[in-house]
């Protein structure tokens, strides 16, 4: 670390660097990245924008021709839909710095509005080329209305108002089925707008000028095209006057305003842009699912999209695609418990090898953990036979090997609950110790993690576990690298 990797200049216990020195050093810092990561980062930066886009999008274009429909839907289409959503959110949060927690509501709004205009449920069947512009404009207008509150509100107030807005949206679609006997809408009276808790079903497939999109591949390519166009658009917007103003607004609204940036107008513009993107994505999602269901547009989805944006890096256009790949791809792989198990251990091993600095220390920790587990398993098996009586279901050779290493007691729900609690405490305490002590403490902690995983977390892999991981991810990323993978870190200069 003697080369002076880019530490933020206001890091604790460090002499503070003046602005001139910081700016003057910029090239030096850029060249200081060592090893493979530094090389990749430099090469990436030198590539022309077209090549970068091709590298990011290229694999997506090839993907539908090498896989089947089911995989294309789960890994491909949903990833692209998430990426599109995250791109819109990135404008609001990443470019303009407005914490919009009602973003998912616009997504739902798009799906429902499209459903109202084109579905067997409502009885109207509008062509998509008419319906989609209506949805986009309506979403943008709704975003304008919600964004108006941002005129008067600081960041956190805005967050809570938009979160409440999402709540309101969910309550509304859950109840706007005409079933509430004492409530009627202005102008239209008592009608079944949204199908209530059962959702709005029989939404038409997208139908452009008489040509229906019917296959998953069709939807996938359509969404991918939209994503590509939007990425190109944002690339230019980011370089334009508006993009620069947005960034100024994000960094310091007050300073921006003093520099005659029209702060309020730009906030509204960002809001409208995000809302329109989400609404547009909603039409795709509604048509793909051929239905819109209130449970889809909740805080869980919101967290997923936020995790994508933050993982990729606030304000980074390409990062969104990577973020969507990771955040959607990983939980999809987690869906089968064999895959999930394999992935869990693989991530631990890789993370250790990457994060622990002298590589032999990481190897020692891994070997130590394996030995530790074997010893614990032998002792516990001898002393208390119930503790090894359970078995891992499925899992092949790897699972059978684990059976002889991890304790799987029968009826371990309560014990595993306490172990989960202990694991959280252990993980937090690990952040407090350093050096070899941390390496030693890691050994039982890793074994505890494996125990909790096999006995508790693996049960709810696609439900609670997934959101627990995403929640922890948000906290960890914010603490370790607030700028995400691709984002440029904000620098506070004294």
């Amino acid at each position: 670390m003697s080369t002076g990797a880019p530490e933020p200049p206001d890091a604790r216990d460090r002499p503070r660097v003046g602005v001139d020195e910081w700016v003057a050093n910029v090239d030096e810092r850029r060249e200081t990245g060592t090893g493979v990561t530094g090389f990749v980062a430099r090469t990436w930066e030198r590539l022309p924008a077209v090549a970068r886009l091709a590298i990011l999008i290229g694999p997506f274009v090839v993907f539908p021709f090498v896989t089947n429909e089911g995989n294309l839907f789960r890994y491909g289409l949903i990833t692209v839909v998430y990426a599109l959503l995250a791109l819109g959110l990135n404008v609001v949060v990443g470019f303009a710095g407005l914490l919009d927690l009602g973003y998912v509501a616009f997504f739902g709004f798009g799906a429902y509005l499209y459903g109202i205009m084109a579905s067997g449920h409502s009885g109207h069947h509008l062509q998509a080329e008419i319906a989609i512009p209506i949805v986009v404009v309506a979403s943008a207008l709704l975003g304008l209305v919600l964004g108006l509150t941002s005129w008067r509100l600081l960041g956190d107030y805005l967050a809570i108002v938009t979160l409440f807005f999402l709540q309101a949206f969910v309550i509304f679609v859950n109840n706007a089925n005409g079933g509430l006997s004492d409530f009627s809408y202005p102008f239209v009276g008592r009608v079944d707008l949204t199908g209530g808790a059962n959702g709005l079903d029989q939404i038409d497939p997208l139908n452009f000028f008489g040509h229906q999109i019917t296959t998953t591949k069709g939807y996938y390519l359509y969404t991918l095209a939209a994503l590509t166009i939007l990425m190109i658009m944002l690339f230019f917007v980011n370089k334009s006057r508006t993009g620069r103003s947005w960034r100024a607004l994000r960094e310091d609204p007050l300073a921006a305003e003093v520099m005659t940036v029209p702060v309020n107008r730009l906030k509204l513009l960002a809001f409208m842009f995000g809302a329109a993107t989400a609404g547009f994505t909603g039409t795709i999602f509604g048509a793909v699912q051929s239905g819109a269901f209130p449970g889809d547009y909740d805080v869980g989805l919101l967290i997923t999209i936020y995790a994508i944006v933050i993982l990729g890096g606030l304000g980074s256009i390409g990062g969104v695609v990577i973020g969507a790949l990771v955040v959607n791809g990983v939980p999809e792989l987690l869906r089968s418990s064999t895959n999930a198990r394999f992935l869990f251990y693989a991530v631990i091993v890789v993370a250790l090898l990457v994060a622990m600095k002298p590589w032999y220390r990481a190897v020692l920790v891994l070997l130590g953990t394996i030995a530790f587990g074997a010893v614990v398993h032998a002792i516990a098996g001898a002393a208390w036979s119930r503790s090894t009586a359970g078995h891992i279901e499925g899992g092949g050779t790897f699972g059978r090997a684990l059976d002889h290493w991890v304790l799987i007691p029968t009826h371990a729900s309560r014990l595993a609950g306490w172990a989960y609690f202990a694991l959280i405490v252990a993980a937090l305490l690990l952040t407090l110790v350093r050096g070899w002590w941390r390496a030693i403490a890691l050994i039982p902690a890793l074994y505890l993690a494996a125990f909790v995983w096999e006995n508790k977390l693996v049960e709810q892999v696609s439900g609670a576990t997934r959101l627990i991981m995403l929640g922890a991810l948000l906290v960890v990323i914010m603490n370790v690298r607030p700028s995400g993978i691709f984002g440029t870190s904000r620098v506070e200069v004294v």
Partner: protein, 321 residues
């Protein structure tokens, strides 16, 4: 519904409904006020919206529940009902206080000088983490405090139309007592003075020799303990608790804090009662009441923002450059 409203206006006032909603509004309001206090204290000191606060409240309700199980369950507690209730409060408040301090140390403290959006996102992460951990450990089912068997609910009446149960009296009285203690703590003790100083100007306070980190930890402890008290109260009054109860309650607690004027402690209490009353009267009187009660609270929040963004008792924010 238009017809029903008209009836209410034309006919003599339905006093039984009115008093009923008033009492339930005050009960609900005292719980919201306790939650709002935590929001407002943390916001006052850190200028941070602690999204995880609602989930701390949920954890408090669950700790209270498990304390009750540990005492032998509602049917045959080892001690008499009200002593058991006191133990539940104590355990939940201490446990959640510790939880709050832990959250602050690990999720917020490293971000104290980060851009403002970073701790907010971290808070969101903590909230999701707590909520889903609860879902993983305790499942989505409702748990019952079984208050009827625990303390024996009695109802008192004044006149013909005014009814109030001993639990409602207990809830309102306890929360007012807790607020009184808090007010004294902040106004009269050295720690309270340090809290006020820190919230006024953190850097200056640090220069005056106040251990800002310790003050912030203490604030989180007190705020989370109050939320836990609110959680146990909810369990006692409404009988049921569940893993997802924190989200909506947190939103309303925050609304209460904002309506009262964020950063202001009497404001949070006032706001809490106001939100509780709004919800209760909306349920009783307005169209689609019980379904849309949350929306009416939301409308109140928006109206407050438009009319007086600094809240009822808050002072307008002056932004320093």
């Amino acid at each position: 519904m238009g017809r029903t409203l008209l009836c209410d206006v034309l006919h003599p006032v339905n006093w039984s409904l009115f008093w009923g909603e008033l009492v339930s509004g005050l009960t609900l309001g005292s719980i919201y006020a306790l939650i709002a206090l935590g929001y407002t204290m943390v916001y006052g000191i850190l200028k941070l919206l602690n999204f995880a606060h609602g989930d701390v409240y949920m954890v408090g309700a669950f700790i209270g529940f498990f304390a009750l199980q540990w005492l032998g369950g509602p049917l045959d507690t080892v001690v008499t009902g009200w002593v058991a209730v006191a133990v539940m409060f104590l355990v939940a408040m201490l446990g959640c206080g510790a939880l709050g301090v832990g959250i602050e140390i690990f999720a917020y403290r490293p971000l104290r000088n980060a851009p403002r959006i970073a701790p907010l996102i971290s808070a969101l992460g903590v909230s999701i983490f707590l909520q889903n951990s609860a879902l993983l450990l305790w499942g989505p089912d409702f748990r019952s405090y079984d208050t009827f068997n625990l303390v024996g609910v009695k109802s008192y009446s004044i006149g013909q139309n005014f009814f109030i149960s001993n639990l409602q009296i207990f809830t309102i009285a306890t929360s007012i007592a807790l607020m009184g203690v808090l007010t004294l703590l902040i106004a009269r003790t050295r720690t309270g003075k340090a809290m006020r100083a820190t919230s006024f100007d953190r850097e200056a306070a640090e220069m005056m020799g106040i251990s800002v980190d310790r003050v912030i930890s203490f604030t989180f402890f007190v705020g989370s303990a109050l939320a836990a008290a609110g959680g146990v109260m909810f369990g006692l009054v409404f009988g049921q608790i569940f893993s997802l109860m924190g989200f909506t309650a947190g939103l309303k607690g925050f609304t209460a804090a904002v309506v009262g004027g964020i950063g202001s402690i009497p404001g949070a209490m006032l706001g809490g009662f106001l939100i509780g009353l709004t919800e209760a009267f909306a349920t009783g009187y307005l169209p689609g009441g019980s379904t849309y009660a949350n929306l009416y609270v939301f409308a109140l929040l928006i109206a407050m923002f438009l009319v007086r963004p600094s809240g009822l008792l808050g002072s307008p924010v002056i932004q320093k450059v």
